[in-house]
């Protein structure tokens, strides 16, 4: 019943429309910035490597695209270990 209510108010999470939106979001970001999923992986690894050379990283570092309108930016979130 809880599941039903969730589906009712959140919309169907697995609808083909949602899948289309998710796929489009990704592909448009890569199209606009002339990047690929592969390049993102490389970027992420190298950024983390550079940072970890100087400071100690803790937890899960993240490097993702954020979009505002037709512009994209890299969102780099790297938690550092405290003393």
């Amino acid at each position: 019943m809880l599941n039903l209510l969730k589906r009712l108010f959140a919309g169907d999470n697995n609808s083909s429309r949602k899948q289309a939106n998710d796929r489009l979001r990704l592909v448009l970001t890569h199209d606009r910035t002339a990047t690929s999923a592969q390049l993102m992986e490389t970027l992420k690894e190298e950024i983390i490597e550079v940072i970890s050379r100087h400071v100690e990283i803790e937890g899960n570092p993240e490097v993702t695209f954020i979009n505002e309108g037709r512009r994209s930016a890299l969102d780099i979130n790297i938690p550092l270990k405290g003393r």
């Binding site: 039903l4 589906r7 009712l8 108010f9 919309g11 169907d12 609808s15 083909s16 429309r17 949602k18 289309a20 939106n21 796929r23 489009l24 979001r25 592909v27 448009l28 199209d31 606009r32 309108g69 037709r70």
Partner: protein, 273 residues
């Protein structure tokens, strides 16, 4: 491209992907404006794959084409085909037996400049693709209309075209979404207008619902805007009116209304219904 020149506004209608309804949009928006009394010219730049003459039902009246005009075989006046049903509408036909590389952007620009003084709006029907034909079509335009369908490959191509138009200096780029089916959107099986706006981030000019009557009127060579029963006709007339600066509200696309939630509840309780 921002500055307003003397005379006609030149509007290119483009999409990237073929088959989304560029020519249908050009034909119906231009006839709608001509019916309102504006002086309209339509220019078919899909050289080698012309369609506009057929969609407008003017294929038997074509004598000269744009390539012959450029090569000096006829005058502009001779090349323009007047529509007898809409005296304010003229069409400059594409050539069918040539190809897009045979004309240059500068030549298209020159023809447009010659035409500006005699018309209120000039519509350019752009070929699909991003090559020479696209460059020919955008060179003289002040504004652009991007036509797309609620379908991922069409949206991806539209996004690429918008990027190229922005790089070319266009600041006035408007979106027409063609062939939307609100029932499918409600069921979660089609991208909605809101989805498309989120992805493409440009001004919305029109939403044309799927309408079987469009094919029927194309078969006959009659613009759909003459059909009072057609929902697509209303949409094209609204687009034309918005271009003249009239504010016409969009129908609400919001699919999360109370009644839809109730309907969805029914669907979730009885998934096989």
């Amino acid at each position: 491209m921002g500055e307003q020149k003397e005379g006609a506004q030149v509007i290119v209608v483009t999409s990237g992907k073929g088959g989304v309804g560029k020519t249908t949009t050009v034909a119906n928006v231009s006839t709608s404006l001509a019916k309102m009394g504006y002086k309209i010219a339509v220019m078919d730049l899909d050289i080698g794959l012309k369609k506009l003459d057929l969609i407008l039902g003017l294929e038997n009246r074509v004598i000269y084409d744009i390539v012959q005009l450029i090569e000096g075989e006829c005058t502009l006046k001779q090349a323009l085909v007047k529509d007898k049903r809409f005296p304010e509408l003229s069409m400059l036909p594409a050539a069918q037996t040539r190809n897009k590389d045979e004309i240059q952007p500068e030549q298209v620009k020159e023809i447009c400049e010659q035409m500006r003084a005699d018309f209120d709006y000039i519509f350019i029907d752009c070929p699909a693709g991003i090559e020479q034909g696209f460059r020919n079509a955008i060179i003289a335009a002040d504004k652009a209309i991007v036509v797309t369908n609620p379908e991922i490959s069409a949206v991806r191509d539209a996004d690429r075209i918008i990027g190229m138009l922005e790089s070319a200096g266009f600041t006035d780029i408007m979106l027409v979404v063609n062939r939307i089916q609100s029932e499918m959107v409600k069921k979660g099986d089609m991208l909605s207008i809101e989805d498309l706006m989120e992805h493409l981030c440009i001004e919305l000019l029109g939403v044309v619902p799927e309408d079987k009557r469009v094919l029927i009127s194309t078969n006959k060579g009659e613009p759909i805007i003459l059909n009072e029963h057609s929902i697509a006709a209303t949409a094209f007339n609204n687009i034309a009116a918005r271009l003249t600066g009239k504010e016409i509200e969009f129908p609400t696309f919001e699919e999360n209304s109370f009644w839809n939630k109730i309907r969805n509840l029914g669907r979730n309780l009885f998934p096989n219904k």
